[in-house]
């Protein structure tokens, strides 16, 4: 294995990678796009305090009720003014109270996906009013909620989303890079041409992998820097463990890409299957919504997908997830060894076939 030859190959592969729009998109742009989208959408929600939640109330309301409601209360004249206030985002929820009939009506915009806080607020308001009508002045059972940080610094919901986006970017970058290398290059007959040169199969695989690792590394740092600058991340990475996770999960995912190629043979079909797998992994990763929201019958799927474990490793490196050191080492080793073995096999199988 000649160093100069390896260096030239890595340089060639890197240039070729950056010229390929789809690869750059899936490795660099898609994670950035998802970070901006979910960071701005869910980040605003994560940072917003429930005390800022505004409820527009219509009806002859006793002052004791408004004192019981732990949110900002805006008094409105009638149902139409609730509609107007909701439309103009002046209130988050409308509440019409009919004291005589003991009837309450919640008025809201269409329910949406990240509107789960409203579900709990409505349940809380129902109970407040039930207590009021039952003449309950004091609760028998009181609760004191205590927020606990997992790591050294207090983390917020957005920290979990951003570490999840990093995990998904490592997955997509690793998986699609190998499908591109052995799929696209094989399709264009590039591997055959390389093998006519003194390049050894292992050199080819290694240099291709290193150039893709380099792209993945750039992607990861862009997300971390952007996340830090735009969304004020509350956690600090342990860079050594993050580097280990980066290497093992990228190589593990490259192995998965190769495995898909071995199964499906045709690069176009493999690419489609990989895209479907990527979409499935975003659903089953627990990054955007808890896995507990999935129907019980299909939750087990998340245990079979590597995304769950890579997300855990990244969160562990960011000190916002606790797993045992043994688990950390075992998961890293499984990813690294399985990925390396698959890539070694691929360098034999694909490059031999080309001959």
């Amino acid at each position: 294995m000649k160093n100069k030859r390896m260096f030239s190959l890595i340089s060639i592969f890197s240039k070729e990678t950056f010229r390929n729009w789809m690869e750059v998109f899936f490795t660099l742009l898609l994670p950035i796009l998802l970070l901006l989208l979910f960071g701005t959408i869910f980040g605003t929600e994560a940072s917003s305090n429930n005390d800022e939640y505004q409820i527009g109330i219509v009806g002859d309301v006793d002052e004791t009720i408004t004192n019981l409601i732990p949110y900002q209360v805006v008094f409105l004249d009638d149902k139409n003014s609730i509609t107007k206030a909701l439309d103009q985002n002046q209130v988050d929820l409308g509440l019409i109270i009919n004291d005589e009939n003991k009837e309450i009506t919640f008025v809201q915009k269409e329910p949406d996906m990240n509107d789960q806080s409203t579900i709990f607020i409505k349940l809380e308001l129902q109970n407040i009013l039930k207590k009021h009508y039952a003449g309950i002045k004091e609760d028998f059972i009181n609760i004191e909620f205590i927020e606990t940080s997992i790591g050294a610094s207090p983390e917020n919901s957005l920290d979990f989303i951003i570490t999840g986006v990093i995990a998904l970017s490592l997955l997509s970058g690793g998986m699609f890079s190998m499908i591109n290398v052995f799929g696209r290059y094989k399709k264009y007959g590039l591997i055959k041409r390389f093998l006519a040169s003194p390049v050894k199969p292992l050199e080819f695989t290694l240099s291709a992998s290193i150039s893709k690792l380099f792209l993945n590394l750039i992607s990861m740092f862009i997300i971390i820097i952007l996340g830090g600058v735009l969304f004020n991340l509350n956690f600090y990475f342990n860079w050594l463990s993050l580097f280990c996770v980066f290497i093992s999960s990228s190589i593990g995912m490259m192995g998965l890409g190769v495995l898909l190629l071995l199964i499906f043979k045709d690069p176009a079909v493999t690419s489609e299957v990989a895209t479907i797998l990527y979409v499935a992994m975003t659903f089953f990763s627990g990054v955007y919504f808890p896995i507990e929201f999935l129907p019980k019958s299909i939750r087990w799927i998340s245990n079979l997908l590597p995304v769950k474990y890579v997300t855990d490793l990244i969160r562990f490196s960011g000190n916002i997830k606790q797993i045992t050191l043994n688990n950390f080492i075992v998961i890293n080793l499984v990813l690294f060894i399985s990925g390396s073995v698959l890539m070694f096999i691929s360098s034999k199988v694909f490059l031999k076939e080309e001959k």
Binding site: N20, W21, M22, F25, L29, L30, L36, L37, I41, T44, T83, L86, N89, N101, K102, E103, T105, F106, V107, Q108, K109, E110, P111, D112, M113, N114, Q116, S117, I119, F120, L123, Q126, N127, L129, K130, K131, Y133, A134, F140, I141, N142, I143, E144, F145, I146, E147, T148, I150, S157, F160, A268, E272, F283, P290, I291, E292, F293, P295, K296, Q322
Partner: protein, 379 residues
């Protein structure tokens, strides 16, 4: 005419042979619809939830309090949305919370048994339950549900188990409905538009750039087929695929009992209008791409931005300005809003027609100016 029919057939069969085309146009939106409603309609459904709550008693419970909580936390209790795990040490429970083995950790403090006496002497102070949680989303939900759960128990204890006569109604933006507005009703217009977007943003531009890249235009120009004939066949082949996709989605909607408004003429007419608008934009995009690589990457960006920033799945009108401009700029926001208004039985606003029409006219104009040039360049 026969030439157009034959060419349409060829285009349709050709694109349907590609695994990706029927999958992303027909199968994926259908699966997405099922998965999303099974996820988001289950929130708050006790049967689907199994949050794990850790419990630690600083002092064993006694008397009525013990009976009440034994019954509440019993696995036989159908109203209990939690799996209860009892710990014999505080540290172990807290450690398991931090390791995400449980979603919330409840401490029954010393002297909590005073609650037995409080049932008779109201003025007595009883220490509060301590609930530890983390900011992981599962833990936040478990905490919120536990809060509501205990609140409900408080009401029951006070009313001695009697049900409070409080009527609760829900309305969506001032429109009272006999049936509750469900997430599936909210999602269905988005799924229809998602399917149309797949055809407009991926299938059409990919086919166009493929034809340019492979010199198909050149080959067709040496045949008796006119450029207009080619265009009509191309468009028809994609519309046929789209109609199949919508047909499948309507069958699914029927099976899932989506609001009957989707079968009304005004909804179907507006859906057809949406097809015209989005396919026009698809033609405009087709005229922009020079090769398949660019088409793939730019289409992905447009598709992802549009499905997340048009109010398909969540409200985006409150998002920061850095992304909000796209919400108001793209026509799909107005189309999904228009469809939802129709589904709620209210009339659509001028903006739901005007902005999509501006997009449609501009797109067709740009495409018609560039279409000939594309063929000419190919020659």
């Amino acid at each position: 005419m026969k030439k157009i029919i034959n060419l349409t057939k060829v285009f349709f069969i050709n694109s349907s042979r590609e695994f990706a085309v029927p999958f992303w146009t027909i199968i994926f939106p259908s699966l997405f619809f099922i998965l999303f409603i099974s996820i988001f309609e289950n929130i708050g459904n006790v049967e689907n939830m199994d949050f794990k709550i850790g419990i630690y008693y600083e002092q064993p419970l006694q008397g009525i309090v013990k009976n009440v909580f034994d019954e509440i936390f019993s696995s036989q209790n159908n109203n209990n949305p939690f799996e209860i795990i009892e710990y014999d040490s505080f540290e172990k429970g807290l450690d398991n919370l931090k390791k995400s083995k449980i979603n919330a950790f409840v401490i029954f403090p010393q002297n909590f048994n005073l609650l037995n006496i409080k049932f008779f002497i109201n003025e007595l102070e009883v220490p509060a339950l301590k609930v530890y949680y983390t900011n992981e989303n599962t833990s936040l939900y478990a905490k919120n549900i536990f809060d509501v759960f205990i609140d409900e128990i408080n009401v029951r204890i006070n009313t001695k188990g009697e049900v409070m006569p409080l009527t609760i109604k829900e309305e969506i933006l001032g429109i009272e409905q006999s049936e509750p507005y469900r997430y599936r009703d909210y999602l269905f217009p988005a799924i229809i538009l998602m399917s149309i977007l797949t055809v407009a943003v991926f299938n059409m531009p990919f086919d166009f750039s493929f034809n340019v890249e492979k010199g198909i235009f050149k080959k067709l120009s040496s045949s008796p087929i006119t450029s207009n004939g080619f265009f009509v066949s191309f468009l028809l082949s994609h519309i046929i695929l789209l109609i199949i996709s919508l047909f499948v989605l309507y069958i699914e909607a029927y099976l899932f009992n989506v609001s009957p408004y989707i079968y009304k003429l005004n909804f179907i007419s507006y859906a057809l209008f949406s097809i015209m608008v989005i396919l026009s934009v698809g033609l405009f995009l087709s005229s922009l791409y020079k090769n398949m690589g660019a088409a793939g990457a730019i289409s992905q960006i447009i598709y992802q931005a549009t499905i997340f920033l048009s109010g398909f799945y969540f409200d985006v009108t409150n998002s920061p300005w850095i992304i909000r401009w796209y919400v108001y700029f793209n026509p799909v926001t107005y189309l999904v809003d228009g469809m939802r208004k129709i589904m709620l039985g209210s009339s659509i606003a001028l903006v739901n027609i005007l902005i999509p029409v501006i997009w449609m006219i501009s797109s067709i104009l740009i495409f018609s100016l560039t279409f000939k040039r594309m063929i000419y360049n190919e020659k």
